[in-house]
């Protein structure tokens, strides 16, 4: 009983095509994102609503403690908005990167027993990150409208670019650390540390001019070469600058030089992550 199988091509089992597999598996991807959220909010009454409550409270605390009590508004007008537009980004980055780094180990039960294009796990962490990012963005926009926000199209486009850079960077780093984590569980501890350091070496809590005032030029260049600094500045340019009464300047050459460089760095991270992933994917099942 011969079927049409004789006419089909041979495949090598377990060899995915990386990101190219994603469009073919949108249903599976959706299930993986659902699964992630379900596992995260298991046994919780508010469930996903938590992702609205947390940034809301965070913003109010910043506004009162830093803006009103510490009076940081004097230095930077609308400091709470300034701070929050950076915080939402680093929250998103930390979550996407951290979950990316943990995703292969966390899905060990699936990886050991059945083949699916495993890069879907990484992609699904970005999906989860975006779902949690949306409420924070909403809080940011509400704050923006309260203080008076007049963005132009260019500034909105910058926000989108900043988001894309950060997504690619988090995805790439998540892959690299995720692969490493399968072999050395130290890697996931390193992630939290790295996110903390990255939070302080980008202009989230303070303005970039502080670095420019103190640091030699080469250090400032290094500072601006950090894709997170670039994304954060693009977000400031989009969500904070249009609320100001006075003129403010983004770091020199932000759009002409540092943004393209950040795009390149983020893409290189993705390529390196993808190469590492392809090289080691075949050993995941036996190491987990």
């Amino acid at each position: 009983m011969t079927t049409e199988i004789a006419n089909r091509d041979f495949r090598r089992p377990g060899r995915g095509r990386g990101l190219l597999d994603v469009p073919k598996h949108t249903f599976l991807l959706r299930l993986l994102v659902d699964k992630e959220l379900q596992v995260r909010y298991r046994g919780s009454i508010l469930g996903i609503l938590w992702s609205y409550v947390k940034p809301g409270v965070q913003f109010i605390v910043f506004y009162l403690a830093l803006g009103v009590f510490l009076d940081l508004n004097k230095g930077l007008e609308n400091y709470a908005v300034y701070l929050f537009s950076g915080i939402v980004l680093i929250n998103y980055f930390g979550e996407a990167f951290g979950n990316g780094a943990r995703c292969f180990v966390g899905n060990g039960d699936l990886i050991k027993k059945i083949y699916l294009p495993r890069e879907l796990f990484s992609v699904s962490t970005i999906g989860v990150g975006l779902i949690h990012f949306a409420p924070q963005l909403l809080v940011l926009l509400i704050a923006d409208f309260v203080v008076g926000w007049h963005p132009n199209l260019m500034q909105l486009a910058c926000a989108v670019v900043g988001m894309c850079i950060l997504t690619a960077f988090a995805y790439g780093l998540g892959l690299i650390f995720g692969v490493a984590n399968v072999f050395f569980r130290d890697s996931e501890n390193l992630v939290d540390l790295l996110v903390m350091v990255l939070t302080w070496v980008s202009p989230i809590m303070y303005a970039w001019e502080r670095v420019a005032d103190k640091a030699p030029e080469w250090l400032l260049h290094l500072y601006l070469a950090n894709p997170i600094t670039v994304s954060v500045e693009l977000f400031h340019y989009a969500f904070w600058y249009p609320t100001l009464e006075y003129e403010w300047h983004v770091p020199p050459h932000l759009l002409s030089m540092w943004t393209p460089l950040a795009v390149v760095i983020a893409l290189v991270t993705v390529v390196v992550g993808d190469l590492l992933f392809r090289k080691f994917e075949g050993n995941f099942a036996q190491e987990l």
Partner: protein, 264 residues
């Protein structure tokens, strides 16, 4: 003796083995799988090892599969036999794509569904229902196909009552029931079954074997790993015996069984 003897279908003797002339669906060529008997799992040790100029091996290695070559043809029912640790599960994992080999090559065509040991790709924190969807999607079903087959899957597994319970609370038999039910409903062209039938109770084993027979009658290819030699003798016409990662016997199931059971 066992229920196998009372079943009119299964008590019939297997016809003598004739090498198949059907198209090849799995082509395995000189496959080697090397495992590391790892001593270390921390960066510290690896770092020290690097500092010392990578002297000595960080870890011992051995070949779980050592040059396996095997062609499996469409519609064949192959039993993969061997003592504990001979490499049977490893071979199935390589065929299903869960792991990659270190040397040699595997080529396959057709949809493969594998039940690799107990717990074939379920997420412990999800309910049975969610796992049916996840597992079905992994095995290549679309949402509407799963929707359509959902009731029939649950009915086959006979665990309606527990379908909304997280699977980490399932007994191993319940796990098997659900995994088997999903796998057969994906209509695989190649079906890999490792051991798992052993944890099913007798009525369910019967049901599985009937289903497996049915799949094979529809021309599906079957690779079964089992230590139940009486059972595989009635289910498979071809037997492959592995010993320390090498094939030592490949042919009629009766020869394969007597290789493992020289006195009986």
């Amino acid at each position: 003796m066992s229920w196998l003897d009372n079943d009119p279908e299964l008590s019939k003797p297997m016809p003598p083995y004739v090498p198949s002339t059907e198209p090849v669906v799995i082509k395995i060529d000189n496959l080697v799988k090397r495992f590391v008997l790892r001593h270390t799992r921390s960066m510290k040790e690896a770092f020290v090892w690097l500092l010392k100029g990578r002297k000595g091996d960080l870890s011992e290695k051995f070949n779980a599969l050592d040059g396996v070559s095997l062609d499996i043809h469409e519609g064949e029912r192959v039993a993969l036999l061997g003592l504990n640790g001979s490499g049977k599960s490893t071979l199935l994992k390589l065929i299903s794509g869960v792991m990659h080999g270190d040397q040699g090559e595997i080529l396959a065509r057709g949809r493969i569904a594998g039940l690799i040991e107990v717990g074939a790709g379920f997420h412990p924190d999800l309910t049975g229902r969610d796992n049916v969807y996840l597992n079905g999607a992994i095995l290549g079903m679309t949402k509407s196909e799963i929707d359509e087959n959902f009731d029939s899957i649950v009915e086959f597994s006979e665990i309606e009552q527990f379908i909304d319970t997280e699977v980490k609370f399932y007994s191993s038999g319940m796990y098997l029931r659900l995994a088997f039910a999903v796998a057969v409903h994906t209509d695989p062209e190649i079906f890999l079954v490792d051991e798992i039938l052993a944890v099913g109770d007798e009525p369910f084993q019967k049901k599985c074997i009937k289903k497996i027979k049915e799949l094979s009658q529809r021309g599906k290819t079957l690779i079964v790993v089992s230590h139940d030699l009486d059972m595989v003798k009635r289910l498979c016409e071809r037997g492959v015996v592995l010993e320390n990662g090498k094939i030592v016997e490949d042919g009629d199931i009766r020869d394969a069984v007597s290789h493992l059971r020289p006195d009986g």
